[in-house]
C-alpha cells in the first residue's frame, strides 16, 4: 500500500527510509510532512509574526523612530560596558560622536536591535494571562468560538496549493469549499459577540455578521468569474490555466488578460478586506466606537487566537488573490527553469514565490489600515450592495462576453485537472487584449469626465482647499 502524493513525498519517504524506518511508516510521515508542512511551517508562523510587521509598518508610517534607531541600542551597550567608569552623559556623548563620525556613522545608524524580543514577550504574556470568562457568559459558546475562528481560517489552507507538490488536497470543487469554510469566521464572531454577555461585544458580532454576509456576495461573484474564465474550480487548475510559456510568463496571469479581470480583482480585494475585518472595514472591533468589539471580553491566549485567526485570514486573502489573479506560485519571469529543477527544489522555489506574493498583499493591507479612517456601518452596506455587487456583475458579464468572443464558448475548457503544464489553455490574443482595454478605458474615461462635471455639485470652497492642501495660487 502506498500513500504517494507525488515525487516530493516519494523522495522524502525514501530519505526517511534510509534511516532504517519501515517503508510504510516513512511514507506516512513523508505525506504528512509534505501536506501539512507548508501550512504549519509557513502560514502559522507568519500569522504569529505578522503583528511584528504591523508594528514596524505602523511606526514607519507614523514617523515614530523609537529608541532602537541609530546606535542607541547595541552600540550604547558596548560603550557603556567599555567605559563603565565614566558618567552616563559622557558615554552618551561618545556614542553621539561615533554616530556623527564620517565613515562609521552611517554604518552605526543601521545597527538596531529590531525589537525582535517583543514577539516572544508578547507570546509569553498571552500565555501567562488568566483565561477568564465574564459572569453570565455562555461558557460553551464563549470558549468554543475561539477554536471556530481559528478553524475557519486554517481549514481554508487545506486546499491551498503552495506548489505543484505542496498541497493537502486539490478537490475539483475547491472554490466552493473555500466559500463555505471562510463563512465559519462569521459564525465564530457572532458567537463570540453573543456569548460574551456584553453589549459592546454584541454590537461587534452583529456588525461583523451583517458585513460578512453582504460581502460574501461580491466575493462569490468574483470567484465564480475566475472559475468561469479558467474553466475549473480546482485551485491547481486555476493556476494551471494561467501558465504562459516563455520568459514573460506574467503575461499569462489572469490580472493581465482583460480589463474586466482587473475590475474583478479590485472588487475581490476590497470585498476580501471587509471579509477579514481589516481597516477600513474593521467595524466589528472598531476600538474607538465599540471598545474592543466582539473580543472585548476575551483575555490572554483566547484573544491571541482571534488575533492569529485574523492574520491567517489576511494571509488567505493574499494567497487567494495571488492564486486567482497573479498566477499562484508561478514566477513572473519564466516557469521552465523552475520545473526543470528536481521536484523538491522546484517545490521550495514555488513556495517561496507564493510566500512573497502574499507577504506583499499583507503589506498592502497594513498600508491601507494605517492610512484610511473607518467606514460607518450603513456606508459599508451601501458600498457592498450599490457598488461592489454591480461592479462584480459587470465584470462577470464582461468576462463571459470576452470569453465567448475569444474562445467561442463560455466556461468549460478542457483543463486537465491538477498538474499544470499539461493544461490546454486558451489565452487572449493581442488584438483582443488591445480592443478590450481600449473599450473599457474609453468607458472609464467617460465616467471620470462625467463625474468631474456632475459629481460634486458644491465642492469645498477653492480658497479653503488651497489653504488646506497648499496648491500654490497662480496669479
Amino acid at each position: 500500500m502506498t500513500f504517494s502524493v507525488g515525487p516530493v513525498s516519494d523522495s522524502v519517504a525514501s530519505w526517511i527510509a534510509s534511516f532504517g524506518v519501515p517503508a510504510t511508516l516513512a511514507e506516512i510521515v513523508a505525506v504528512l510532512l509534505v501536506c501539512c508542512g507548508p501550512v504549519l511551517g509557513i502560514a502559522f508562523p507568519i500569522a504569529g509574526v505578522a503583528q511584528y510587521f504591523e508594528r514596524k509598518i505602523a511606526a514607519a508610517m507614523q514617523r515614530r523612530k523609537g529608541p532602537m534607531v541609530g546606535a542607541t541600542g547595541v552600540v550604547q551597550l558596548v560603550v557603556d560596558l567599555a567605559f563603565f567608569w565614566q558618567p552616563r552623559w559622557k558615554r552618551q556623548a561618545t556614542v553621539r560622536k561615533l554616530e556623527n563620525a564620517p565613515v562609521i556613522g552611517p554604518v552605526l545608524a543601521r545597527v538596531r536591535q529590531w525589537g525582535l524580543g517583543s514577539i516572544a514577550a508578547d507570546g509569553v504574556k498571552m500565555f501567562l494571562k488568566e483565561d477568564m470568562a465574564p459572569a453570565g457568559a455562555d461558557k460553551i459558546l464563549f470558549y468554543g468560538s475561539t477554536y471556530l475562528a481559528l478553524g475557519g481560517a486554517f481549514l481554508a489552507f487545506a486546499v491551498f496549493p503552495f506548489s505543484q507538490w505542496f498541497h493537502m488536497g486539490d478537490p475539483p470543487v475547491a472554490a466552493l469549499y473555500l466559500g463555505s469554510v471562510t463563512g465559519l469566521v462569521a459564525v465564530s464572531i457572532l458567537k463570540a459577540g453573543w456569548s460574551s454577555n456584553n453589549k459592546w461585544s454584541y454590537f461587534g458580532g452583529i456588525r461583523s455578521v451583517a458585513m460578512i454576509v453582504s460581502y460574501e456576495v461580491p466575493i462569490t461573484l468574483c470567484i465564480a468569474a475566475v472559475c468561469m474564465w479558467s474553466g475549473t474550480m480546482s485551485l491547481q487548475g486555476i493556476i494551471a490555466a494561467q501558465y504562459q510559456p516563455g520568459v514573460a510568463s506574467f503575461l499569462g496571469w489572469n490580472l493581465f488578460q482583460t480589463p474586466f479581470m482587473v475590475l474583478i480583482a479590485g472588487v475581490y480585494y476590497v470585498a476580501a478586506l471587509a471579509e477579514c475585518n481589516r481597516a477600513p472595514f474593521d467595524l466589528a472591533e472598531g476600538e474607538s466606537e465599540l471598545v474592543g468589539g466582539f473580543h472585548t471580553e476575551y483575555s490572554g491566549l483566547r484573544w491571541g487566537l482571534f488575533f492569529i485567526a485574523e492574520y491567517t485570514d489576511m494571509i488567505l486573502v493574499g494567497a487567494l488573490f495571488a492564486t486567482m489573479f497573479l498566477g499562484g506560485y508561478q514566477s513572473p519571469i519564466g516557469e521552465e527553469w523552475i520545473v526543470s529543477l528536481p521536484p523538491l527544489a522546484e517545490a521550495l522555489v514555488h513556495t517561496a514565490i507564493i510566500v512573497v506574493k502574499f507577504l506583499a498583499s499583507i503589506g498592502l493591507m497594513m498600508w491601507i489600515r494605517w492610512t484610511l479612517p473607518r467606514f460607518r456601518i450603513d456606508q459599508v452596506m451601501k458600498l457592498a450592495w450599490t457598488k461592489l455587487v454591480p461592479l462584480a456583475l459587470l465584470g462577470l458579464f464582461g468576462l463571459a462576453v470576452t470569453q465567448l468572443v475569444q474562445a467561442g464558448r463560455v466556461g468549460v475548457h478542457e483543463v486537465a485537472h491538477g498538474r499544470y503544464l499539461s493544461a490546454p489553455v486558451v489565452h487572449m490574443d493581442i488584438q483582443a487584449v488591445v480592443v478590450s482595454w481600449v473599450l473599457l478605458g474609453g468607458a472609464v474615461a467617460t465616467l471620470v469626465v462625467l463625474a468631474r462635471k456632475y459629481g460634486e455639485s458644491r465642492p469645498m470652497p477653492k480658497d479653503v482647499s488651497d489653504a488646506l492642501t497648499g496648491k500654490e495660487k497662480t496669479a
Binding site: M61, F203, R376, P461, T469
Partner: protein, 394 residues
C-alpha cells in the same frame, strides 16, 4: 425621530472609560440597534471644586489651578485668569498695573502656540476616533515641538503656570524667536501633509458630512462658543470683536463654517467644525509671525520687567488690597470663550470665582443632536465638539 415606536431598546453606558469620550464623560445612550433614540450626558466624574479652592487662595496662587481647568490649553487658561485679575485691579487707579509691553506680546505668542497645540490634539484625536491612527500621531508630533518650546521657557510640558498677574514668569530663552519661526515653517508644511492625508479623504468626509448639524440659531441659543459657534457660520471671535491684551495690533481672519464638505454636507455639520479648527491653526500661525515681527527686544537683564510675581512688586502690592467689586472677563480659548467671573471683597483672597467654559455648554446640546445618529456618529460628534472633560467638571 420618534422615540416611542415599538421596538426593543438597549441602554448603553458609553463611558466613563470609553476610548472615544476623551476623558471621563459618560453618555447614557438608548439605542435601537445601531441607531440612537436618546442620549443623556452624565458628568461630574472629574469635579475637583476648583472654584471653591480659589476662594481660599490668594489671587496669584490660583494660576496653577487654572492650568488644571483645561490642561490641553493651560496657557490660554492662565491668560484668561491673569487678564481677569488685571481687569479687576484696573477698576481702581491706585491698583492699576502697567503690564510690560514685551510680556503682553509673549502672552499672545504663547496663547496662540497653545491654541495650535490644542487644536492639534482636537483634530488629531478626532481622526483617531474615525479609525485613522496615523494622522493623530502626526498631529501630536507637531504638539511635541510646542511642548519643547514651552518646556525650555517655563519648565513644564503640560501645566505651565507661566503667566502671572502683572506679566509672565520668565522671559523667552535666548534663540526662542528663531526656534519658533522655524517651527512655524515646519508646521505649515506638516499641516498640508496632514490635510492631504486625512482632511480631503473621502471616507473621512463621508463620515463627518451632514452629521450633528447645528444651526446658527441653535448654536447661539445653546451658548456654543469658539470653533463650535463659528462652525455654524456665526462670525464672532473675541480676539477680533472684543480685543484683549494686544490682540488689536494683529491682522488675522476669523474662519467660519461655509459648508466645507460640499454638496454632501450641511452648514454647521461636524466637518465644518473640524475644518474651522484647521483654518484657525493657520490663522494662529499668522498671528505668531506678526508677534515675532513686532515684539520689543529684551533688555537682557536678569530683572527685565516681563513680570514674574517675584519681580512684579507692583502686582504683589496691588494684590494685597484689590478694589472691591465684581468683574467678568472673557478670553477666546481654543475651546471657545472662557469667562472668569470674580467677586472681590477687598481682601487678599477672592470672595467668589465662577468659571464659564466652552465644553460645558457644548455638552448641553448633545441631548438634542444625538437622537437619530448611529453609534459611530456619536464618536464623531464628541470629537467635533472637542470636549475636554476637566473643563466641563472643573
Amino acid at each position: 425621530m420618534n422615540i416611542e415606536h415599538d421596538g426593543d431598546f438597549i441602554t448603553l453606558s458609553m463611558g466613563p472609560h470609553h476610548p472615544a469620550t476623551h476623558g471621563v464623560l459618560r453618555l447614557e445612550v438608548t439605542t435601537d440597534g445601531e441607531v440612537i433614540a436618546a442620549c443623556k450626558p452624565d458628568i461630574g466624574y472629574l469635579h475637583r471644586a476648583i472654584e471653591k479652592i480659589g476662594e481660599n487662595l490668594e489671587w496669584y496662587q490660583f494660576v496653577p489651578y487654572t492650568d488644571r481647568v483645561d490642561y490641553v490649553c493651560s496657557m490660554n487658561s492662565n491668560h484668561a485668569w491673569v487678564c481677569a485679575v488685571e481687569a479687576l485691579l484696573a477698576t481702581s487707579e491706585e491698583t492699576r498695573l502697567q503690564i510690560p509691553e514685551r510680556a503682553e506680546y509673549i502672552r499672545v505668542l504663547f496663547a496662540e502656540l497653545n491654541r495650535i497645540s490644542s487644536h492639534m490634539v482636537g483634530v488629531g484625536s478626532m481622526t483617531m476616533d474615525m479609525g485613522a491612527f496615523t494622522p493623530f500621531i502626526h498631529a501630536l508630533g507637531q504638539r511635541e515641538h510646542i511642548n519643547d518650546i514651552f518646556e525650555k521657557t517655563c519648565g513644564a510640558r503640560l501645566t505651565y503656570n507661566y503667566m502671572c498677574v502683572g506679566g509672565v514668569n520668565a522671559d523667552l530663552y535666548p534663540g526662542a524667536e528663531d526656534e519658533i519661526r522655524k517651527f512655524l515653517d515646519g508646521l505649515e508644511k506638516a499641516m498640508k501633509d496632514f490635510n492631504r492625508l486625512i482632511t480631503t479623504n473621502n471616507i473621512f468626509k463621508g463620515r463627518l458630512a451632514g452629521i450633528a448639524v447645528v444651526s446658527a440659531q441653535d448654536a447661539v441659543s445653546y451658548g456654543l462658543v469658539g470653533p463650535n459657534l463659528r462652525g455654524s457660520g456665526v462670525d464672532f471671535d473675541l480676539r477680533r470683536d472684543r480685543p484683549y491684551g494686544v490682540y488689536d495690533r494683529f491682522k488675522f481672519d476669523v474662519p467660519v463654517g461655509r459648508r466645507y464638505a460640499g454638496s454632501k454636507g450641511r452648514l454647521g455639520d461636524a466637518y465644518d467644525r473640524y475644518v474651522v479648527r484647521l483654518l484657525e491653526v493657520l490663522e494662529s500661525i499668522k498671528i505668531c509671525r506678526q508677534v515675532l515681527d513686532q515684539i520689543p527686544p529684551s533688555s537682557g537683564k536678569a530683572d527685565d520687567p516681563v513680570g514674574g510675581w517675584c519681580v512684579a512688586k507692583a502686582a504683589q502690592k496691588a494684590l494685597r488690597k484689590p478694589p472691591v467689586g465684581e468683574i467678568y472677563f472673557r478670553c477666546e480659548n481654543p475651546r471657545g470663550e472662557t469667562g472668569y467671573h470674580i467677586v472681590s471683597d477687598g481682601t487678599k483672597v477672592p470672595y467668589r470665582i465662577k468659571i464659564r467654559t466652552g465644553s460645558f455648554c457644548a455638552l448641553s446640546i448633545f441631548e438634542k443632536l444625538v437622537p437619530g445618529l448611529m453609534i459611530a456618529d456619536v464618536v464623531a460628534l464628541i470629537g467635533s465638539f472637542d470636549i475636554v472633560l476637566p473643563e466641563v467638571d472643573r
